[in-house]
């Protein structure tokens, strides 16, 4: 192993990421089985049926708030957290350049991607920043979306009180619609996130840096070795990657397009009636498409669990190796 850029996150961050993922998946499964009820009735049945599903959604919502409060407190008072926080802030010059270079790269006018656009391309951790501009964008967008979802969710918690407070029903409806629309946007983002990190050729099927903290990552110092390269040359592409990435990519595209169409066709909610273009949602293709989208979420949940299984295995392996090393040491 080499010091590639994958030992990035602290233990608290990796734990937080896993817990956040679990909670957000629960929110998604409960929320979408209500929103796309025509297509996901089976999921609603699994999630507590019509009388339990929203109770579960609300409990998961409280979970999200608890996690967020913990995280913010930790960011403020945790040791050395502020430097990490700085890494999330945009570096306007380099991030912009990386974006422009990416556009050129796609158009075939640049030979390589900017360091600020790289998550992993055979670079060592000191050559690329902690987060690529895409990574920063993902964190920023998710943070804004989750904040707005929490605020609007709390506001519509008790609709009668909200209506009394604003003295109008329209306000309550506006928050309901906002909460729903934002949920759909977030769903699309999460599908993309799952694809981006689950199907990267170097990491497929999971990026372990999200699960194994940087203190557990082996850091071999190569400065004294006559070693060329960073270790990427030692990797081989898994044979299943090719079809898996095509299948996963297709599922993500179908899922994103379907939830978008589904929310437009399901008149009234979350898109206001005046803006909808269609009537009935009971369309076979749409049903399949939205189910494919939810399948992508299940895949994300599965990968998140798998990442943690790998972490546990890895930690066990490290412990075993240390024990053997200790015994052989005491034998000497």
């Amino acid at each position: 192993m080499t010091n590639l850029d994958h030992g990035k996150f602290t233990r608290v961050t990796t734990m937080f990421h896993s817990l956040l993922a679990l909670d957000v998946f629960l929110l998604f499964f409960t929320g979408y089985s209500v929103m796309f009820n025509d297509e996901l009735w089976w999921l609603l049945e699994l999630m507590g049926g019509n009388t339990g599903v929203l109770a579960l959604h609300r409990i998961a919502g409280v979970g999200l708030i608890v996690l967020t409060v913990f995280w913010i407190t930790f960011m403020i008072i945790g040791p050395g957290r502020r430097s990490n926080f700085r890494a999330v802030l945009p570096d306007l010059k380099n991030d912009m350049q990386a974006f422009i270079q990416d556009v050129k790269f796609v158009l075939g006018r640049a030979d390589e991607r900017h360091p600020h656009a790289r998550q992993f391309a055979g670079y060592t951790s000191d050559e690329v920043p902690l987060l690529s501009y895409v990574g920063k964008g993902v964190i920023f967008i998710f943070a804004v979306e989750l904040t707005l979802l929490m605020v609007s969710g709390l506001l519509i918690w008790s609709k009668p009180s909200l209506m009394q407070f604003f003295q109008t029903k329209a306000a309550a409806m506006a928050f309901v619609v906002f909460h729903g629309l934002l949920g759909v946007i977030m769903l699309m983002g999460v599908m993309f996130h799952i694809f981006e990190h689950g199907f990267h050729p170097a990491f497929y099927p999971v990026e372990l840096k999200a699960f194994i903290s940087k203190d557990k990552m082996p850091h071999t110092d190569h400065s004294d070795e006559d070693h060329e390269g960073t270790g990427i040359e030692l990797l081989t592409l898994r044979p299943s990657w090719n079809w898996a990435v095509n299948l996963g990519g297709a599922a993500v595209v179908i899922g994103i397009v379907s939830v978008l169409l589904g929310s437009i066709f399901d008149e009234g909610y979350p898109v206001p009636r005046e803006l909808t273009i269609g009537g009935g949602p009971t369309n076979l293709l749409l049903t399949i498409g939205i189910n494919v989208g939810v399948l992508v979420l299940f895949l994300g949940l599965l990968l998140s669990v798998y990442g943690n299984v790998l972490r546990a295995r890895y930690e066990r392996q490290v412990r075993a190796e240390r024990r053997t090393a200790e015994t052989s040491h005491s034998d000497d």
Partner: protein
Amino acid sequence: MSTDQNSMQREQMSQGVMSVGEGTRIFPDVEACIDCGGCVVACKRTWDVPPEEQRISISTMFEGQEAEKPQLNSNSGRALNQGEFPGETSFPMQCYHCEDAPCVSVCPVDSLQKNDDGFVEVVEDLCVGCQYCLSACPFGAPQFPESDDGAEAVLGGGGIMDKCTMCEERQHVGKGPACAEECATDAILVGDAGDIADELDKRDAAPAFNKEAMEIIFGADEARAFDL
């Protein structure tokens, strides 16, 4: 108006229930309502509605006050539509089984459905208690009797929604809604849109809701039958 004309007019007035079945509408004549609560009792007795819940309720505003213009004192509907102070007015509030029902369009799980003969029904097995219909209904019809019980009270959910059914079952056997049959002053009109518009005309009364609300209840076409 002479006494003769008055009695003639009274003879021409219909019962509250003019026709039942497919395409039936229900609509209040607020001028006739005297807030006696007869409809509330009839509804509760007919459907065993529990004490903490009401499928129909009378809301009386400006109790004991007179209209600004004396000639509008006996025509709250007209006063309201002209933006004048109507004086004491009682509204029998219930589900009007709207043609363009906003509750049906917001219900995320299609628990609210407008069926072929025009009734807006709640499918109890589908309702998730989200209370979106409560936010959407302009008339406060959706009720949530379970919202104070157990888990719902802790988590703020609504339980299963309940509302006026316009006595659909009674209508299927040719009877009118219990509230309208019981109303001593025939303040709850039941019939098709034309019947109701004609009856209000005969009574020289105007609908108490504005044009927007009338279009929701009767649909843009039928709402034209009313003098707005």
